[in-house]
């Protein structure tokens, strides 16, 4: 490989790690303020009880659970997409895999937080973990919430591993070349030396993980959907929910990945690395998912409408023509009507076009979660109990805090670690096809000077 090119890549990709501008601190301060306010709101809620939210009977869940599903969905950005691209050996994946995997790990730190916030007695959350206690009490594995605990734990550990493994050579690189935070990189690089054996084992481990993480990711959103589908409630008790949620998750994941790419491109000056072709390709993926999402949505709603069961139709009408109609039609507009044409034409599938479409999809998918959770709960089977729901300032503040927290963590991540894999990018250069044969053993012998 060209030495100069390697040096340039190294410089470009580690620049965001090394150079810290005023914008960085201002961003962190702004996000930190929102987070502090949200933290105060959460404290307020724990102190007074969940009554400070807009929940009531029968709407026992609301914005919090909608956010839980939304963030777990976002977490499908990374690992799943990057795993699929790796397994299919798509060459254009190189600049976006780590960016996506980081989204996964960070979103997985946000999502389960909402379950904690949603608990009536948050301080007892550890009762859902299986551990021996003097009471001899264990959690109930029949509960879909325990399935979630198990699957999300697995997914979090799996995606952390999957983020970490390809990062080791870059951590070693930073350990050896940066003047700052060396202790961090030395600890995390674990003594990586770059011997052929290590490289080979790394590639094996990454490919094993890529295969493992796909079924794990699918299982996570499957069990998230089963929280709803396992109940008898109208328009929750649906067999389509598991694949519908998985598709929605990948859909919103790709959208947030596009947004992250677009922001990073500008803020970290990575125009040379995140090129229009990447936006084009990810945009096409987004288009495909938009169509699949539409198909699932139609399948879900048309069967309900045709079946015309009174309990289900109550929810159906509330969503499509009742107070939730703005949310529902907003979702349709944001998930399909606007982004699909934008993504379908080459002329609009530009960086700006895909970014705008992605932003809409993120909003649309949040609306979808909200409509699913609230729509059904407002209309339980016994009509005497029907009631509306509106979130209060506490819920909205905590939700804003979660978004700020995610952005905060992401900014911090890009500050600490190169967001584009340096070694993978170098390995992807055309001149750098690594020679595969065993060194020393198979090369021809030239006459040697004595």
């Amino acid at each position: 490989m060209d030495q100069a090119a390697a040096v340039a890549i190294h410089r470009d990709l580690t620049r965001p790690v090394l150079e810290t501008g005023r914008g960085f601190y201002m961003t962190l301060a702004a996000l930190g303020t929102v987070m502090a306010w949200a933290l105060f709101c959460w404290g307020y809620q724990v102190y007074h009880g969940l009554g400070v939210t807009g929940f009531n009977r029968p709407v026992f869940w609301g914005v919090y659970i909608a956010n839980f599903i939304f963030w777990i969905g976002i977490s499908h950005a990374g690992t799943l997409i990057s795993a699929i691209l790796r397994v299919t050996q798509a060459g254009w994946r190189r600049p976006i895999t780590r960016c996506a995997e980081a989204i996964t790990v960070l979103a997985l730190m946000i999502g389960p937080m909402f379950i904690l916030i949603d608990l009536g007695r948050s301080w007892l959350f550890y009762w859902v973990l299986p551990y021996p206690s003097e009471r001899g009490l264990w959690p109930n594995f029949r509960s879909p919430l325990l399935w979630d605990v198990s699957c999300i734990t697995t997914y979090l550990i799996g995606s952390l591993t999957y983020l970490y493994l390809p990062m080791i050579p870059d951590l070693a690189l930073l350990r050896d070349s940066t003047p700052c935070r060396r202790w961090l990189y030395r600890t995390l690089a674990l003594g990586w030396k770059g011997t052929p054996r290590q490289w080979h084992r790394l590639e094996t481990a990454i490919s094993v993980m890529a295969v493992l993480i796909i079924p794990i990711a699918v299982s996570v959103h499957t069990v998230v959907s089963w929280i709803f589908a396992m109940t008898l409630n109208p328009m929750w008790h649906s067999t389509i929910f598991a694949p519908y949620f998985v598709v929605g998750a990948i859909f919103s994941g790709i959208a947030i990945l596009l947004l992250a790419m677009s922001i990073l491109r500008k803020s970290a000056r990575l125009e040379m690395y995140l090129r229009p072709v990447h936006f084009n390709n990810v945009g096409l993926l987004l288009l495909a998912l938009s169509l699949i999402w539409l198909y699932f949505t139609i399948a879900e709603y048309v069967t309900t409408w045709y079946g015309d069961l009174p309990e289900e139709m109550a929810v159906f009408r509330y969503k499509l023509a009742g107070p939730l109609a703005p949310y529902f039609w907003g979702m349709v507009a944001c998930c399909f009507l606007i982004p699909a044409p934008v993504l379908a034409f080459k002329k609009t599938r530009t960086i700006a076009g895909t970014t705008a479409a992605a932003a809409l999809v993120v909003v649309g998918m949040w609306l979808e979660r909200y409509v699913i959770v609230v729509g059904t709960l407002t209309h339980p089977r016994l009509a005497f109990n029907w009631r509306d729901y509106a979130p209060t300032w506490v819920e909205l503040s905590i939700m804003a805090g979660a978004f700020a927290y995610f952005a905060f963590l992401y900014v911090l991540f890009t500050k600490l670690f190169p967001i584009i894999s340096v070694w993978e990018w170098k390995a992807g250069l055309p001149s750098a096809s690594p020679p595969r044969p065993s060194p020393g053993a198979t090369l021809s012998h030239e006459p040697l000077p004595r």
Partner: protein, 167 residues
């Protein structure tokens, strides 16, 4: 292992041991101050008075009950005691005032417990109350932890269904 590392480890071990002993000491509890320095030992061991004589409700009710000042006086009026503590009893008696005994055991609100059922099942007082009958002081000896209850219920084949004990 480096020197610093070893020191750090010793530090951790000391901290853990300290924490552990503090926890043990704390759970043993301190003796309670009562309005009269009453001694169970004098009554139960020396004078061979049955628990039921003073804690008279335990066969029939949920609570065992503390004796009324009247009950104390029944015996003590016949005794020529020069004990200063026993004299305090008569000041309460003369004022027709119950002795404000400090309660030793208080189960949480969510627990159902009746002395009656346990006594009728043949459980001796000492099984839970330990050696308080031989003691001069008031130490909280009863283990109120759920594990203790469940273990005993399991051993004796009593119900361990949640609603047996929780309300």
């Amino acid at each position: 292992m480096t020197r610093a590392r070893r020191h750090l480890m010793y530090g951790w071990m000391t901290a853990l041991a300290t924490l552990g002993s503090v926890a043990v000491w704390h759970s043993r509890g301190k003796p309670l101050e009562q309005p009269i320095a009453f001694s169970h030992r004098v009554h139960v061991v020396q004078n061979k008075i049955d628990c039921a004589y003073c804690h008279e409700h335990f066969r029939r009710y949920a609570v065992a009950g503390t004796p009324s000042v009247e009950l104390c006086v029944t015996c003590h009026s016949g005794l020529r005691t020069s004990n200063s503590e026993a004299k305090k009893l008569f000041t309460f008696w003369e004022k027709r005032h119950e002795i404000p005994w400090v309660r030793l055991h208080q189960l949480p609100d969510h627990v159902v417990f009746t002395h009656k059922r346990h006594v009728r099942a043949g459980i001796a007082c000492e099984t839970c109350h330990g050696t308080i009958g031989q003691s001069d002081s008031f130490v909280r000896e009863v283990d109120h932890s759920m594990g203790k209850c469940v273990d005993c219920h399991e051993q004796r084949g009593a119900s361990i269904e949640c609603w047996t004990c929780h309300k």
